[in-house]
Subunit: 332 residues, 2 copies
């Protein structure tokens, strides 16, 4: 979900990266790691994924302060099966761990046709789509997903027992990668919060209100904590299986092992799969053309590219209040 | 979706397999391949997946008569990258090709930690869940998916440009594997047809009626040919990416390369991934227990096991009319 509203202002990409980098360096990041982390936050806003960019920076700093995220911890390989490896994230920054894991999956794919890194004990990776774009930029097909704290009721229950476990699939294409980045809930909590803040109605029902009715009122869904899994029982089932695979393959924690508290969401499990570039000329363009021939359908990833181009020309859109709060941190 | 109704009767498992085997042997299958194909059809009904079992046998025979399915064609490896292989299905029976592909993916996983077989030029695999159960029975984690003919409008269009591209994920567990088997449409055409035949209302909206309204009337959705992707734009996007991966990795056809005619659905592309059994004792049981603690939520695969036990005791449920039609074929 991308949202652009009157609450936003435009800032130059490099200015945002400089500000975030300085703040992270003051909190124990080396210069190069601070810069990469800052770029990943800024890229999310640049591509229109406001729910997982600067909006989350404050929470990320709270993770650092609480010691849940350790700035200089780096992931370590703990087992290898050849094309499948287990890595321990050692509670490092989720975005840097995820970036390293996808890079390693691509190396494994180069050697074996397919490569997989299962990563335990890592932290929230912020915008999951980043690692799909990363794989596609390197010329690989990529799949990755993460589990999360319990934040979604499974079909048949009103208790948050499963995670919204975002899933990313990316296919490289010279004229614009095809990249899907979707959580198993119809709307992420970040998106619900943006809709609620802006007083906008959800375009389709996003969860249940206090009377057990499906509703398009984002604030009502936030208050019950009962977002809707995509496709009812189907997204619920997919969430359960993605969680099992992530925890089993990495040897890490499952959703049910985590406290249901956003400020304590740590030690998540993730999977990164890359496939070596296949030989099938023209196929991806043909599929994209078949969708666009009808005019209204668009391929996943097209919206991000359009936002990126707008950001290049006009600057990156940032919530004014969020930006003010971030700038204030420079003085800390 | 499992449905059991007054239209069904119960027949002994072995009797069904014998009847289907005889019919297939009369149509060019060797004895052992006829038996395996017959078992896969019967297993679907045994496990309550009526939409993809004997209900489809008549259509399968039409594929054979039309020469779309070649009884004695076997899949062949055409490329190997180590842990990733490309196979050509040579238009063989979809279920037998898929079974061979998942078996090979498990071998590759044994050697490399992860294994992947991408299969081109194959046919409808009938019940996709079968290959998930197969991987789990062998002790592996399995993922597989297929593309299909265009049978689902993408988000933003009312034309069937994408496939419902079923996705299967399976995790082995001694007390019952966890197996997800889901198409990207809220209901398969098989399920819509069962609901329509039985005059039952869909439990949630399944697509659009002729007035562009979401409806729970299965017959109305069948008539517009506009089933709903799970999660609106999300299932639509997932369908597009699964199609791209299947066609790219296998070197085979994408959804847009196939005619939108159920009687000409051939040359589909599929992906089979297996992971070697991970070392994480108790994890799967803990996840299942966390879901069942709440009473109403159930893990994917539980329903199939319950049906299987019922079939063991009482015989396999089969649509009476479908069974009559099948028995009549014995005389051909």
């Amino acid at each position: 979900m991308t949202l652009y509203s009157q609450y936003m202002i435009r800032i130059a990409y490099n200015e945002i990266v400089e500000v975030l980098s300085s703040i992270l360096e003051n909190r124990g990041f080396t210069s190069s790691r601070a810069r990469m982390s800052a770029e990943l936050f800024t890229d999310a806003n640049r591509d229109g994924v406001y729910s997982h960019g600067l909006d989350r920076f404050g929470r990320f700093l709270r993770y650092l302060s609480a010691g849940l995220v350790i700035p200089d911890a780096e992931p370590e390989r703990v087992w290898s099966g050849g094309a499948l490896e287990r890595w321990d994230g050692h509670s490092g920054p989720g975005s840097l761990n995820a970036h390293a894991a996808m890079a390693r999956a691509c190396e494994l794919a180069e050697a074996n046709g397919i490569g997989c890194v299962a990563l335990a004990n890592t932290n929230h990776w912020m915008r999951g789509g980043a690692y799909g774009w990363q794989a596609a930029d390197a010329g690989y097909l990529g799949i990755c997903w993460t589990n999360t704290m319990p934040n979604l009721p499974p079909w048949g229950s009103d208790k948050p027992l499963i995670g919204n476990n975002p899933l990313i699939i990316a296919v490289p294409r010279p004229d614009g990668h095809v990249v899907l980045d979707m959580a198993m809930s119809q709307f992420s909590y970040g998106a619900l919060s943006r809709y609620a803040k802006e007083g906008r109605e959800l375009p389709v029902p996003g969860g249940y209100d206090k009377n057990d009715r499906l509703t398009t009122d984002a604030a009502a869904v936030e208050s019950t904590g009962r977002p809707l899994p995509i496709g009812f029982w189907k997204g619920s089932g997919l969430s359960i299986l993605l969680d099992l695979l992530a925890a089993l393959l990495s040897g890490g924690r499952a959703v049910c092992d985590m406290p249901a508290d956003p400020d304590k969401e740590t030690g998540v499990s993730q999977v990164f799969i890359a496939f070596s570039p296949p030989d099938h000329p023209g196929l991806t363009d043909r599929v994209v053309a078949s969708l666009e021939a009808e005019g209204k359908a668009r391929y996943p990833g097209k919206g991000a590219l359009a936002h990126r181009e707008e950001s290049r020309i006009h600057g990156v859109a940032v919530d004014e209040e969020v930006w003010k709060d971030i700038k204030a941190l420079l003085k800390d």
